[in-house]
């Protein structure tokens, strides 16, 4: 209510009043002491000569006689009164006009969904719904720590006439995937002299969904552009020959070859019977099992195993989307948390992005529950890619999950981020730390070997990856599966 400035003035007033009263009090005491202790003051004042006298030893009190006179008392009191009045006189006017609940704040964002690293324009409109002027108003729009203001400011200091509306905006850059809330809004109203204030916090939030960064996909698109321009000669992948529409090559005629495939022009040119071969168009059904158990959250902030896994999923799904394969996703921790059945198209890809934006590391890992869940809903054989660190669960559960999946003729590949590689770099460590790290590596490898042995026995391919090779390995796995026709539709 009363600001520090107002309080300062009021306290100053009280102090000055006290000074006035104290002066008056001391003055009175100097008059009373001679009377009380010596009786001489009274005697001499009432005597013939009317002289003021002090008892012996109390003559020094005469120095304080000035306090008994009015100037110091009056001036102290006058200033005190002036300051006290100044601090409260505007209060009724302020209270009548400054009602924070009369301020209506609305916030709009130009996009509710953005990729990490992209920009969002936030506009804040403040309206004084009352009739009275507000001389000094501050509005602060809180933004999450993950956001960075790149242009503009998220607050304003202004004045608002009755029924007036003012608007300001700022641009933020979203940095990490997730759902964030912009808000609350803090409204502070002051009077002109800064003696009073009223503040109100509006718990009004706007959600912004931040997809994982599109940077990897952009890089991949740039790469494919360069390939199209012939800058990456030799990087083309060979496709399988088969019954497709795209021409593959000419081959010598073999008995049983359909007549319609004979190339008569080639026959006239070479004198040999030649047949045209076409590329096979095999689409696969890809389902990624993304483990987001607690252990997947380990690693350097924003570069955890889960972050890398998400980037891989995004990249491979984009490739699958472009190649018109069916792609789906199931995220799981101690239970399946979201499931996107295999399908094709851009809308599907965006659904996938939304799921990926919200995945957070939590709980333990139960791949068996995830496999059971999928198999109840997806009876057709597919290519299962597990992205899991194989850490948050017993090896038996993984084995059982693989058994279940294999029983339905699904092909399985496990891409497993190797924990220690995501948490530290051996080159950065001292010799003692390195020795400890190596011991931890050994222990990890021992456990992993157990799981790997039991899974390999079931025909499951396991690829151990670090932060440097997780993306290439995921792409390679997809390409290989495509070539081999794993989970073909």
């Amino acid at each position: 209510m009363l600001s520090s400035r107002g309080a300062f003035i009021a306290i100053g007033g009280i102090l000055l009043l006290s000074v006035g009263l104290s002066a008056k009090g001391i003055g009175t005491v100097t008059t009373m002491i001679p009377i009380l202790f010596g009786g001489e003051g009274l005697t001499q004042q009432s005597g013939q000569n009317q002289t003021v006298g002090y008892p012996t030893g109390m003559e020094f009190l005469s120095a304080f006689e000035i306090l008994n006179s009015s100037p110091i008392v009056d001036y102290g009191m006058f200033l005190g009164i002036l300051l006290l009045l100044a601090s409260v006189i505007g209060l009724p006017f302020f209270q009548a006009s400054a009602n924070a609940s009369l301020i209506r704040v609305t916030r709009t964002v130009d996009r509710e969904k953005a990729f990490a690293g992209e920009y969002v324009h936030v506009s804040v409109k403040i309206e004084n719904t009352g009739r009275r002027r507000m001389d000094f108003i501050e509005v602060y729009d809180a933004i999450p720590d993950m956001f960075e203001i790149v242009l503009g400011e998220n607050f304003i200091i202004t004045q608002l006439d009755g029924k007036e509306t003012k608007e300001f905006s700022y641009i933020i850059q979203v940095s990490t995937r997730g759902v964030y809330q912009i808000g609350p809004v803090k409204v502070i109203i002051h009077d002109r002299l800064g003696f009073y204030f009223e503040e109100d916090v509006r718990h009004f939030y706007t959600e912004v969904l931040c997809y994982p960064s599109y940077e990897d996909i952009r890089r991949m698109e740039a790469l494919s552009k360069r390939r199209q321009q012939g800058k990456m000669f030799g990087a083309h992948k060979t496709k399988q020959k088969g019954m497709g529409d795209d021409f593959h090559a000419l081959a010598r005629y073999y008995p049983g070859a359909p007549f319609k495939s004979l190339d008569w022009k080639a026959f006239s040119r070479t004198g040999e019977l030649m047949v045209r071969e076409f590329e096979a168009e095999k689409n696969i059904r890809l389902l990624v099992f993304l483990d987001h158990s607690g252990s997947m959250g380990a690693g350097i902030p924003y570069n955890t195993k889960l972050d890398f896994a998400i980037r891989s999923v995004m990249l491979v799904m984009k490739m699958a989307e472009e190649r018109q394969d069916l792609f789906g996703l199931i995220t799981f921790a101690d239970r399946p948390t979201s499931y996107l059945p295999p399908g094709a198209g851009k809308a599907k890809f965006f659904q996938l992005l939304e799921i990926l934006a919200l995945v957070e590391p939590q709980g333990r890992s139960d791949p068996l529950a995830a496999v059971d869940y999928v198999m109840q809903r997806l009876p057709r054989a597919s290519f299962y890619v597990f992205l899991t660190d194989l850490e948050s669960s017993d090896s038996e559960i993984f084995t059982e999950a693989a058994k279940r999946a294999r029983s339905a003729k699904n092909k399985i590949t496990v891409i497993s981020p190797f924990g220690p590689l995501f948490e530290t770099k051996l080159t950065d460590l001292t010799s003692t730390e390195r020795a400890i790290a190596e011991a931890i590596f050994e222990e990890y490898l021992g456990y992993r070997k157990q799981v790997e042995d039991s899974l390999r026995g079931l025909g499951v391919e396991i690829i151990n990856v670090g932060p440097d090779d997780i993306l290439p390995n995921v792409i390679k796995t997809y390409m290989k599966a495509k070539q081999a026709g794993k989970g073909s539709v």
């Binding site: 009191m77 409260v88 209270q95 800064g194 919200l358």
Partner: protein, 455 residues
């Protein structure tokens, strides 16, 4: 924004006029002959010498008494054959006593005669005069410099220091009787009070403080907005003018510099070249990132401007700038009203007999026209009542104005309309939020393509 600066200067000029005027008044109201009377310093030194003298005498007497006790003990116990004890005798005491004798000129003695009954009274008066002059001499530069500091920085704290400094000077001057103007505040009628010199001076100083607050308000409301606009316009211009430099261009430049250097000096050139190469490694990375985000921001701004041509104004908060003409227009009547009200009420409180007699006539008629009503205690009662009255009126008005609006206490979240739903903790929805995004998305999507939500 020159209009904003002019407005700020307008208030500053008013402050300067008041500041100069009131400073001069304060300065000329003080008895400068007393203030710069440095003979007081010698008096204080004399008192200090007296203090040292008294201290020494006390210590000497203590030493003599201890010696006498030892001599007495020696006489009483003759068997103590300590040679040190044997050396103590009456002649040693005489030497000690001689040390503090004023006639021996061993050290300068004070001229103050403590046997004089007026000595103690003089001591207080002299110290009071010295304290008064010293305090004023210390406070005066502080008050003046703080005033100038406020003009430069616009910080209200400095204005408050200046105000306090001048007020303390006046109080000290009154206390030490160093003041030349009449110290009587005549509260017999309002005009007499206003024209009392001390009232006028105190009031001018207060007015100066109010103007300082007003100036500070203008600076607080105008400066940040003006600076913000300038800053953001500059950023916008920089972003729009940004043209990324090609890597080859950068490389070419550096190579030219490197080769020039290396042709002139051998060892120095080599180290310079190495440094350049090292720096280049980082620079290329930084440049690439900066250029990329800058380009992205540039295109984003262009798209924003296309959809809303007012974007630049909103970003610079130009549309939210305070109305400068209103600032001045409201300043004068508000100030006049405020000052008049304060003066009128101050008068009523300073001479509360009228208002108190009015109330006493209802409740305690026996106290009517009592001499006690003019005492400071009754002024305190009156000011307390006025303060409480203003607070009460304020509270009532606040209640009435806020009673018209319904405060939204619940948490309102504008949720994103998602294609999928996620298993996450959501705040409980209020009925005002209407249909949830989950329901909408279920209706829109085909059953085949619908992703499943697992709870």
């Amino acid at each position: 924004m020159p209009a904003a600066q002019n407005t700020a200067h307008f208030f500053r000029i008013i402050y300067v006029v008041l500041f100069v005027f009131s400073s001069l008044l304060v300065l000329f109201s003080i008895d400068q002959t007393k203030m710069f009377d440095f003979t007081q310093v010698f008096k204080i030194i004399d008192y200090l010498m007296l203090f040292v003298q008294v201290l020494l005498e006390t210590l000497t007497n203590l030493a003599i008494n201890i010696t006498l006790i030892i001599i007495a003990a020696k006489a009483a116990l003759p068997f103590i054959g300590d040679p040190n004890f044997a050396s103590l005798n009456q002649s040693g005491i005489a030497q000690i006593r001689n040390l503090v004798n004023p006639l021996n000129n061993f050290f300068p003695h004070s001229n103050i005669d403590l046997t004089n009954p007026q000595a103690l009274e003089n001591l207080i008066t002299d110290f009071s005069a010295f304290f008064g002059a010293t305090t004023i001499l210390i406070l005066l530069p502080i008050a003046i410099l703080s005033g100038f500091g406020f003009l430069r920085e616009g910080d209200t704290k400095l204005a408050i220091y200046s105000f306090l400094g001048f007020q303390l000077i006046l109080i000290v001057a009154i206390f030490t009787e160093n003041i030349l103007i009449s110290t009587e505040i005549n509260s017999s009628n309002i005009f007499a009070m206003i024209f009392s010199p001390l009232f006028t001076l105190g009031f001018l100083l207060y007015l100066q403080l109010e103007i300082a607050f007003q100036t500070s308000y203008t600076l607080n409301i105008l400066n940040p907005m003006t600076e913000r606009e300038k800053r953001i316009q500059k950023h916008l211009a920089r972003i729009r003018a940004f043209v990324p430099k090609s890597e080859e261009e950068e490389e070419g430049k550096e190579r030219t510099v490197g080769s020039m250097q290396s042709s002139k000096f051998d060892l120095l050139a080599a180290s310079y070249l190495r440094e350049m190469v090292e720096r280049r490694v980082f620079k290329t990375g930084e440049m690439a990132i900066d250029a990329k985000s800058m380009m992205r921001l540039q295109s984003y701004l262009a798209s924003l401007n296309q959809s809303d041509p007012q974007t630049d104004l909103k970003l610079a908060a130009k549309t939210a700038q305070p109305d400068i003409s209103a600032l001045i227009k409201h300043f004068i009547p508000t100030m006049i009203f405020r000052i008049s009200a304060v003066v009128l009420l101050a008068y009523i409180i300073m001479s509360p007999e009228g208002i108190l007699n009015f109330f006493m006539s209802f409740s305690f008629p026996a106290l009517l026209d009592s001499l006690e009503l003019s005492q400071p205690e009754f002024r305190t009662i009156a000011i307390l009542n006025f303060v409480l009255l203003f607070i009460l009126i304020g509270a009532v008005l606040h209640y009435l104005s806020s009673g018209r609006t319904v405060k939204v206490l619940e948490r309102v979240v504008q949720q994103i309309d998602t294609l999928v739903d996620f298993d996450r903790g959501k705040p409980s929805r209020t009925p005002s939020e209407g249909q949830s995004s989950e329901e909408e998305s279920v209706e829109e999507a085909s059953p085949e393509d619908q992703e499943e939500v697992i709870s």
